[in-house]
């Protein structure tokens, strides 16, 4: 691209064009694939039909709206590109859902419930990554830490008969793995990607080895799933009630999103953490112990990843080989997509969880021709797009991945 083009095609302008194209795509899809008389029926288990918009007309409306948002962005520009992204994203998701449900029934609260549960380990993994990377240590070992956590949770809860002890064991085990990551990448200054890869390889190998050699022969692989936690009054609410009858980890995750946001952005500790990740030399000059900050943050990250790991195994009630199945990398993607912030990661995880929930529904209820694997790819593709900076831009902490050499 020449310089002249780069001046005309600013990121904001590209965003506008993309929005307009999305609007047109929605309208085209509505015209081509939907029949004019059909309605998309969204139901609830108890209440019955929630609302049933006529699918084609609604999609025309949504598409037009999207087109005009894009046009306005191109012509005048909104103050914040984040708002535009959010709005267009929502319009896209809504249209997608209506198009899929057209002529059929969909349990909307059920879908959102699955979204929330799918997003839980992703968010926890992403929060783990946020802690590490804000302190300047790249963590691609989320997958491995979670796998170790999943294993430890089952082993400990089988031995003790208590799921909470299992979760504690998961947290501690992941913490120990995080110590390994910290020692290798901070003290020995091993390339952090290599250190993370080692942990991933080790996790896949060691958990399966230990399962075959110790866990299964001793009959320690079936503590049963953890009991749901019910929030007393809220659980009786209509429609949203089922969100309050959930795996305990879901609530822990929600609390952690708030806590981590507060810690990272509103406490001296968080300020130091971020300074160590952005400009360690400057932090060192004003007296922040860079090495110690990095160690502690990486270990905290490990502890959080442990909770995420325990979610997989305690939710299922047993440990399966490689049961995280790439979720750790989607968590990494969620962290990048969320621009290294806890709330952003949570929203990204919800989006990815939604994709997961929809692909599950597509197979069971909706019976759409679109293969579910394409929706499973969506998180990875979206992350690449965001990272490339075509629409929006993911900006990592400046010193992320660089070992600190004290002078």
């Amino acid at each position: 691209m020449s310089k002249k083009w780069r001046e005309i095609l600013t990121r904001e302008k590209i965003l506008g064009v993309v929005c307009m194209v999305i609007g047109l795509v929605i309208i085209t899809v509505a015209a081509l694939f939907l029949k004019s008389g059909e309605v998309a029926t969204f139901i609830d288990e108890k209440i019955g039909t929630l609302f049933a918009p006529p699918s084609q007309a609604t999609l025309y409306a949504l598409g037009t709206l999207c087109f005009f948002v894009g046009g306005w962005q191109l012509y005048r520009g909104f103050r914040s590109t984040g708002v535009v992204l959010g709005a267009v994203g929502f319009l896209m998701v809504a249209s997608f859902l209506i198009a899929l449900t057209s002529g059929k029934q969909l349990n909307l609260p059920g879908l959102l419930q699955t979204t929330l549960t799918s997003a839980t380990p992703l968010t926890l993994g992403a929060l783990s990554g946020v802690f590490c990377e804000r302190a300047g240590v790249v963590n691609i070992a989320i997958e491995g830490m979670m796998l170790f956590g999943a294993f430890a949770a089952i082993a400990a809860s089988s031995l003790s008969g208590n799921h909470w002890i299992g979760m504690l064991a998961a947290i501690l085990t992941s913490g120990i793995i995080a110590v390994l990551h910290a020692v290798l990448s901070i003290t020995y200054k091993v390339d952090q990607i290599i250190s993370g890869t080692v942990i991933n390889i080790l996790a896949a190998g060691a958990t399966r080895y230990l399962k075959l050699r110790l866990l299964s022969p001793a009959g320690l692989n079936s503590p049963g799933p953890i009991a749901n936690m019910r929030i007393p009054v809220l659980v009786d609410l209509p429609i949203v009630g089922k969100f309050f009858d959930n795996n305990p980890t879901v609530f822990i995750m929600l609390v952690l999103v708030v806590v981590v946001t507060f810690v990272i952005f509103y406490t001296p500790w968080g300020l130091r953490t971020r300074s160590v990740g952005e400009h360690p030399r400057a932090a060192d000059t004003v007296g922040v112990d860079v090495i110690r900050m990095r160690y502690v943050n990486v270990i905290i990250g490990g502890l959080i990843a442990g909770i995420g790991g325990s979610y997989f195994s305690l939710g299922l009630g047993q440990f399966e080989d490689n049961m995280t199945h790439g979720q750790g990398f989607i968590a990494l993607a969620a962290m990048i997509f969320g621009n290294w912030t806890p709330v952003g990661s949570f929203l990204a995880a919800l989006l990815f969880g939604f994709a997961d929930a929809v692909q599950g529904k597509m197979q069971s209820v909706l019976r759409v021709g679109l293969p579910p694997e394409f929706l499973q790819m969506a998180p990875y593709i979206l992350t690449m797009i965001v990272l490339a900076g075509v629409i929006g831009r993911a900006i990592p902490p400046a010193a992320d991945g660089k070992p600190y050499e004290k002078q």
Partner: protein, 484 residues
């Protein structure tokens, strides 16, 4: 002795830092002292263990052998420390592998059912526990050895029957483990070269696994869908298809890195998972041969990489591709201008830019070649061994290749040697699983340990008191953080 006397002063004056140069004689005596202490310790351990075994199960000859090996290792370190500074980089990988194997044996011993059962009364009866531990480890490593190289007795018997009766069958089955080891090392060589080339260009290609899958799948698709061609056209076509598809798969992160600065590590990870999901989909329906098998049809005989020997031996012509690729990578990186530019970009991008080398072009080119090599790896596996593509095709070759590139010092020859070792581990691991009931995953634990020790040489140096090499064998491969 005379050679040592000659080399010593030269080494010390030319290469050693001044702090060490100040007291050369002290260091030498210290090394001798160390050798004495270590040797004595090892001999003591040998005597103690031998005592246990004489009383329990007769004399085991492997044990003294192991002791001698240990002594030799420390002697090696001592000698290398004293002189031969140039050898220090080479000794490191050897020590890393040996240490990883020792840790592996400790893990095997600690998780052995009999050891665990008797561990409760370790204080009253330690010999039983040690005995069980020794049994477990020796059984496992014997199986590993025989699975990797074949049992010597069987080979001699087979050789005899071939020479005397002209019956080659026993010999073929006797050397099957060796052939398996080399067969398994073929995809390792190619994938290892892929990562190594990336390292040399300053790029971290974690995507070898995805490129492996894409390459394997593309080769198979061309292998069974294109019909009516003679072997000499069809086979190269299938191999090329695999290489090219994977090359494009690697090219995408390369282009993104060159033009937008998006870090190749994240993008190759994402491309891996896109590749996995895509093959999941393709193998479920469009390319499936029989409903429910999740497997493509077999490739036509014209697209199969020919095997060198009759049936039980699976060694195939992929070996030629792999070795040719190793030679090519060496020639390309060290004997051509393009390769020189690529290494310059990897070693010092600022200098490269100042020297007028296009960094963008080199990033794209390196990722493409890297992807191509990983694709060849997949193609050689699918056209040479499996002959089709199924859901379990990706077996970690791509991820292990990172270990190979590190272990081989990102040098083609090193990668080939490291691949032979990993191939042997993999082949032996299979036998270890069937004979000693030790899960195959012990090999991946050992491999992870190898990576740790290679990546953090300070650990190995402090265990064996090995002095630092003049320069690391592994090039200073530090990914430029995500932030920049």
């Amino acid at each position: 002795m005379s050679k040592k006397d000659v080399t010593l002063p030269i080494e010390q004056t030319s290469s050693e830092p001044s702090a060490q140069m100040a007291q050369p004689s002290f260091l030498q005596t210290r090394q001798r002292l160390l050798l004495g202490i270590w040797g004595g310790l090892v001999i003591l351990i040998i005597l103690a263990l031998a005592g246990i075994f004489v009383t329990k199960s007769g004399i085991d000859f492997i044990l003294p052998l192991l002791g001698v090996l240990l002594v030799m290792m420390f002697a090696l370190v001592t000698i290398v420390n004293a002189s031969f500074a140039w050898l220090r980089g080479t000794v490191l990988p050897v020590l890393a592998v040996v240490t990883a194997l020792i840790i592996g044996s400790i893990i095997i011993a600690l998780t052995d059912p009999l050891v665990l059962a008797s561990a409760g009364n370790f204080l009253e009866d330690p010999t039983t526990v040690l005995h069980h531990a020794w049994d477990a480890v020796s059984l496992a490593y014997q199986a590993l050895f025989e699975g990797a190289l074949g049992s010597p007795a069987k080979i001699t018997a087979g050789l005899e029957s071939w020479l005397v009766d002209g019956n080659a069958k026993p010999l073929l089955s006797a050397i099957r483990p060796l052939s398996e080891s080399i067969t398994k090392s073929i995809p390792y060589i190619l994938a290892g070269l892929s990562v190594a080339l990336g390292f040399r260009a300053g790029l971290f290609n974690i995507g070898a696994e995805g490129q492996f899958v894409v390459g394997g799948l593309s080769a198979v698709v061309v292998g069974y869908s294109v019909t009516g061609l003679p072997t000499y056209i069809h086979l190269p076509l299938a191999v090329m298809a695999g290489a090219l598809a994977a090359g494009i798969w690697g090219l995408i992160p390369g282009v993104l890195k060159a033009w937008t600065g998006a870090h190749e590590v994240i993008n190759t990870i994402m491309m891996n998972w896109i590749a996995f999901r895509m093959t999941d989909y393709l193998l479920k329906e469009p390319l499936e041969s029989i409903q429910g098998t999740h497997r493509t049809p077999d490739v036509l005989p014209t697209a199969v990489l020919p095997r060198f020997f009759p049936h039980p031996l699976r060694l195939h012509a992929g070996l030629i591709i792999a070795l040719a690729a190793a030679v090519f990578v060496y020639w390309f990186l060290w004997k051509t201008t393009w390769g020189f530019e690529m290494r310059t970009v990897g070693a010092n991008p600022d200098a490269a830019r100042y020297g007028g080398i296009s960094i963008k072009r080199n990033i794209v080119l390196a990722m493409f070649i890297s992807g191509t090599l990983a694709g060849l790896s997949g193609a050689s596996e699918s056209l040479g061994v499996t002959h089709n593509m199924s859901l379990g095709f990706q077996a970690g070759y791509g991820f292990d290749s990172i270990a190979l590139a590190l272990l081989g010092g990102s040098h083609p020859l090193g990668v080939v040697l490291a691949s032979l070792l990993f191939g042997a581990l993999r082949a032996g691991g299979t036998r270890m699983m069937s004979v000693a009931a030790i899960p195959l995953e012990i090999t991946s634990i050992v491999q992870a340990m190898v990576i740790i020790f290679i990546a953090a040489p300070a650990i190995i140096r402090s265990i064996y008191r090995l002095r630092a090499a003049k320069e690391g064998l592994v090039p200073a491969m530090i990914t430029r953080g995500w932030g920049s």
